[in-house]
Assembly symmetry: C2
Amino acid sequence: MSDPSHATAPPTIVVVGGGFGGIEVVRRLLGAPVDVVLIDRQNHFLFQPLLYQVATAVLAPVEIAFPIRRLFRDARNVWVFQETVVKVDRVEQSIHLSSGRRARYDVLVLAAGASTSYYAHPEWARHAPGMKSIEDAIAIRSRVLRAFEDAEAETDPEAMRAHLTFVIVGGGPTGVELAGAIKELAVDAISRDFRRFDARTARVVLVQGADRLLPGMSEESSAAALESLRRIGVEVRLGAHVTEVFEGGVRIGEDRLLADTVVWAAGVAGHPLAGSLDAPLDPHGRVLVEPDCSVPGSPNVFVIGDMAAPRSDPDGRAVPGVAPAAIQMGRMVGEIIAAEAKARRDGRPRPPRPRFCYHDRGSMATIGRAKAVADLGGLRLRGLVAWLAWLFIHLLLLVGVRNRLFVLLSWGFAYFSFSKSSRTIYGNVPSRVRSSLGARPDEGLGTAADAAEALRSRL
Amino acid sequence: MSDPSHATAPPTIVVVGGGFGGIEVVRRLLGAPVDVVLIDRQNHFLFQPLLYQVATAVLAPVEIAFPIRRLFRDARNVWVFQETVVKVDRVEQSIHLSSGRRARYDVLVLAAGASTSYYAHPEWARHAPGMKSIEDAIAIRSRVLRAFEDAEAETDPEAMRAHLTFVIVGGGPTGVELAGAIKELAVDAISRDFRRFDARTARVVLVQGADRLLPGMSEESSAAALESLRRIGVEVRLGAHVTEVFEGGVRIGEDRLLADTVVWAAGVAGHPLAGSLDAPLDPHGRVLVEPDCSVPGSPNVFVIGDMAAPRSDPDGRAVPGVAPAAIQMGRMVGEIIAAEAKARRDGRPRPPRPRFCYHDRGSMATIGRAKAVADLGGLRLRGLVAWLAWLFIHLLLLVGVRNRLFVLLSWGFAYFSFSKSSRTIYGNVPSRVRSSLGARPDEGLGTAADAAEALRSRL
């Protein structure tokens, strides 16, 4: 809004990231006297809270992804581009794209989310994938399903144990939900599909550094989640730290554990774009924004959602990296931009900006079939009631009638048939079978007769 | 059945490939006095006739894929393994797996399907993917959707034209259905989602070497398909040959055409496994099997489906590479194996083997919304009636109640909302945007104001 060459044209608002925060900003700018350019490296808005259900074969990827440009197809002042932003130049007021091109902005909103932190061990990423994108979730699903396939072709007991061991690092909502869902997949959904092992014996280990699960929730809910997970057979290790991740396993403290599948649901790191801003960052790489979510010294550059660490929370608590916080920041920033654009158009003075204040409406995590915990205001729910509340709220928040219907149907099928339907393994997921079946090692897979023999001898 | 060491144990039947043919063989062996080992490199049975609907965002991948081991989970004499077979050793009676292991068989059934032939130009595969697997279909979908995204960020008219040009090579059912569906995607489903171009102008070119489309169907249906495709705006080139495929386009005869998206739906080549058999092959690389579908000289090795070229069709016509032919071969071979195993168990002499005879129950192809052609016996259907018949038959043939319901719902949504729902772009599909927007080339993407300007100047 400061570039004089655009004094007569509507200002250009560039929003980077089409997640919860970015989408909310654009929604508040519909019909405002501004041109909005929304840039995301993906073509879809991703409903991240249900990503773990894609990773565990309950939902199909498409059910939690919605084309961004479809969202805004009737908004005549919004342009959507699929591009990757690599750098922000606050002096030139432009962003640099991976294609080598640039785009100028009058106002910039950065809402590109967070990335996964492996603390000082980026090399662990190869063996312990994080779960941020739809591709991540599909890769984890393929890895999990492939591990069961490998176990079916395995005879060496130790190797089979490794196939059937799943380690989840991190006891926040993602880790808790993923651990519960993997155990449920093994126990309910696929246990009858394998001949050579009892899938119900699959070992799911949840490693949490803190002394309780779900540190963002109440002590009561933490305890309930722990109890529920243990009851369905998840091995929860509190106050435990992963000291090494290697091909085929992890070290937890001094304890070496062989596991084909390790998923990283722990540390959160700032988005690489935050670094290019040349602004102060907190220890997690988030931008230390002003109370109005703008970057110090640049009132026309805002940072919201997981990229931002607002300093102004009145009660001094950190704003958690959750969807409602991103939506609230997006709403405030969108309203600021719309109000200032209107004031400018009408020749009125710029209105004062509000300060961001996070309203915690509660949080919840699901643990498995008809089991969940929820802190809603003063209310502590658990068990079936919490689970139904969880289902209902997530259905409401989903984008698109079709997605709501299909998710509801998928859940219905999963619930009543005890099965998971999205069990397709994509891509070339390498087998990790170590041993051969039967007496003759040169007859690897063995015949069915051998298999039957081996099975009988083990029973 | 010839290995004396297994004289008392049930014989081991190894079936390679869990497609239409392989699945049918196993179905006929349920409960027979045999042990069945079913090996596929994928974990799912794929309903290939609907693959083009995944490539064009109508269906989600999971809706046409079904876990193979789930199909046979109640069959106590069937073992399922996800493995890749690289070689058959008829002397040793074993198959070699990509993991380096081997598996011995008493009876072997090869049903691994066909691969794509680029005639003498394997290097074309990189620029013009074929469509055989679920991964292929997802990659084509991503490429098609990305082309529209690229067009939105493009200003150079020629480059934009290339983004919006889709070339389909091959005028069989796959090519016809794909061409119709891509045009429909552009015209109906996404035309309102883009600002800088009219998606309805997307150019879909269908290149067919023969002088008519759908050579396997009646002349009448070929003519009807041609007319329907031309009416919805597909450019059909009959008697035309692709003479070159390069990055970003093709040459058709002497005519050079720039196109971001080229899909190969033409030649069929034999499966690599057929070569390792050391058996006679036809010019398409298919095994020239005996009338009972066994390999000459090896009555205990059968080849069925797209891998086989049975020589015995009484009317002398070639058996087409379609699902019904694979199913019919699978049924016959399964029944032969079951009958011989029972005779052996009961000490009866081996019954005589039947000769394969293909029963052509008809064929059909869909062209778009409420448009299809069908030859069913003497009946020639077209238009809405053929389309409804097509929908009904494909729904019936799908595996699983859930898949049927979800496909029906997806079709219902696509029909009544004129939209396609599976529009997620997966993986890193590179942008092919060539030019920059606006007057200043260093401001590549341009601002929305620039975009609006450019749009106005073009209208």
